[in-house]
Amino acid sequence: MKTIVSGTALQSIAKRPRTITTESYMKDAFANYAGYLNELNEKRERVVKASRDITINSKKVIFQVHRISRDNKEEVLKKAEADLVAVKDQYISRLVKELQGTDFWKLRRAYSPGVQEYVEAATFCKFCRTGTLLDLEELNAGLLPLSDPAIEPLQINVLDYLLGLADLTGELMRLAIGRISDGELDFAEKICRFSRDIYRELTLVVPLMDNNSDMKTKMDTMLQSVLKIENACLSVHVRGSEYTLLGSSDPSFLMGVPDMQS
């Protein structure tokens, strides 16, 4: 039975088992669709796995950065930066290979968490190194060598960059508390200004983002982080002022407890 419209072939297939009466034109087409869906699902799985690897290793970089203190800055950041390069070379490169030549937006939900965490780690390193924001262009320039130069290279999109940046403030908050404990008040105030700036810039960008419900939640968390940083700065500031009032001759004292043992 080739077509439903022709009654002439009826007799010949009346006894054929029913399930293979499927019109062959449908069958061929659906075999194609089946192949397409299988490949897509398998690719999605591979992308999810690569994303999870990126996440777990980026988190390690972040923890490495948190090991910073006044006296080991160079050493700690060097290691963090090396680890970050390793994340890129080992895991992001795998993602790049999977996605190359496809519409990067199609599987975005599968890889977005990993990319966001990578952004968080990379911007965190950079801030600790230079006190500035690693911008997307620079970040993406670093990814270029991973791609086959013949085709459109994988680039982190603005949305994932901004979502990663939104998480950064949480880490900055932890960093600020630690820096205050370590007496690095200038550093803490730099963090304070930096995260205020990011928060302010993001408030202007959020309403423009494609699907900003995630981002709105993150903004709430972020404001909380900024407030925590500001309040921590306030409490050390107020104590410092009182110290000045009490007329200390050694204003550097409040800059930490290096002389705790002395």
């Binding site: 439903i4 419209v5 009466t21 659906f30 519409d103 924001l133 810039e201 960008v205």
Partner: protein
Amino acid sequence: TSMEKQFEDFRVKLDEAGSLRERIRAVVNEIESITRLMHASLLHVHQSRPLSEVLEKPKAQVDGLKELYGRLAEVLCECPGEYYRFHNDWRSETQTVVSLLAFMHWLETGKLLMHTEAEEKLGMNQAEFALDIEDYLIGLCFLSNEMPRYVVNQVLAGNYDCPRKVLRFLTDLHAAFRMLNLRNDFLRKKFDSLKYDLKRVEEVYYDMKIRHLANGDSAEDNGTQGQS
């Protein structure tokens, strides 16, 4: 500062994407308007109006649809590689479009509208602007959802052969769908509903058969309503 510069840059890019999206939505709204009209016309098939009358208006609107998809393609041309970024903004409407085109096609020819045929009708047969296969498949499920009601109303109008024909079509379509490996997603849910449609059509077919109301298969005809 460089931070401000970067964010200014983002705002520009996102604004661009936003206005792109707005233009897409404007087109999609028009698509939606047309499909609503087409759907309303096609529903007359349940009142058992002659097929030619039923199809007249919706067929006249296919060109309008094609033109709108052409405009959609133009908009998406401005952001190459970002087809799927905006996909959600027009996928549900496109699924409806597919289901309507497939219904009309089936009413006329008794055959399934193929993916490439749907693409052609909508001018989506381009490298950068193709019809997503899942959208096409979901559209086919919507098509099947209309069948039980169609069959009941055809019988009410005295067209007792209809159930057999529809049953044969849905049985084939069901068999074809079973070749797919789905995830637990929307498509799987719609496919489940296809099974129920098939079952309902079978029941009507039984009702005819029991009462010896259905004709034999001798006189075959194109289309689904003999005398249209």
